[in-house]
Symmetry: C2
Subunit: 150 residues, 2 copies
DNA sequence: ATTAAAATGAAAATCGTTATTAATTAACCC
DNA sequence: GGGTTAATTAATAACGATTTTCATTTTAAT
């Protein structure tokens, strides 16, 4: 499982094609446009968001909501996108083509600011160890009111 | 908004009655039993879990799943219970009558271990501040494999 | 006790997501 | 390039969790 961090779109596309081939899956225009759209929009999308954007940007493309769900799952399984669960707002996806980070979320305007903190990452490992857990993953979301909404 | 941490059941019940009165809501046996059950079971419940347990423990009580959903929402709005969103497993509720803590969750058996770490809490405030946010809340879940499942 | 407002259970509706299906398309072979 | 086969698709049905609707019951204040 290679990291895709900082790949160019061309490299990312090649990586995706490799994964498809290895799994005897096919490269389709729907899959390409989903990847392309995620690459060029670093925001966080729900499946519905992404579906609506693609419908709007590519009116000639035939695409169904089920395909968006299927493709996002496929991309997530292969670590090309990652997701966060935002309670009432549902699951949001973002391209994994950036370093690990957590999220600072505005409760008023839903803006998401990404951050990274090594000290917390270390503490998380220590805590898990104390509890007898092997840490495999974590979720950290800081909710608040952003500067513009205060 | 007072903290209910460490209240006795009697005090908690009085607090709940106050909240109801202030909002012109009524005190019912269903609401009382839901609160009582949460108080005496510090585990994490889905709405369905709680509904099943109450049906079993109080067969003479008429209660519907919709009432459980309604009451848990009401209790959460008033900070008497808190909830965590566990991705595929759905939303789980616990009584808020205990000090703040986060959750260490086993991906195999779904066991939840609670922990508290002041250092992380402090860092979270620092990070939010750096991002221009006023921190109102946070979510931290550490996923891993527990000792028994390793 | 009377009465008005709120709460209830049961069932229907809704929401986000997944599975089914028949038609289409990509990939491989010649 | 055309033929073949398996994968993919869009549309729609199905699904599970949650919410709403509504007619009936219960609470709380008089």
């Amino acid at each position: 499982m290679n990291s895709i961090v900082s790949l160019s779109y061309k490299e990312l596309l090649a990586e995706f094609k490799n994964i498809l081939k290895q799994n005897q899956l096919k490269f389709t225009s729907q899959r390409e446009i989903i990847l392309y759209t995620l690459y060029n929009n670093t925001q966080h999308f729900t499946s519905e968001d992404l579906y609506m954007l693609i419908k709007q940007e590519y009116p000639e493309l035939s695409i169904g909501i089920a395909t968006v769900y299927r493709t996002l799952s496929l991309l997530e399984e292969n670590n090309i996108v990652s997701s966060i669960s935002l309670g009432i707002q549902g699951k949001k996806y973002e391209i994994a083509n950036k370093p690990h980070h957590d999220h600072n979320i505005c409760e008023t305007c839903n803006k998401i600011v990404e951050f990274e903190n090594d000290e917390i990452e270390e503490l998380q490992h220590t805590i898990a160890k104390e509890n007898g857990f092997i840490l495999t993953n974590h979720l950290m979301q800081l909710y608040g009111i952003c500067k513009e909404c205060q």
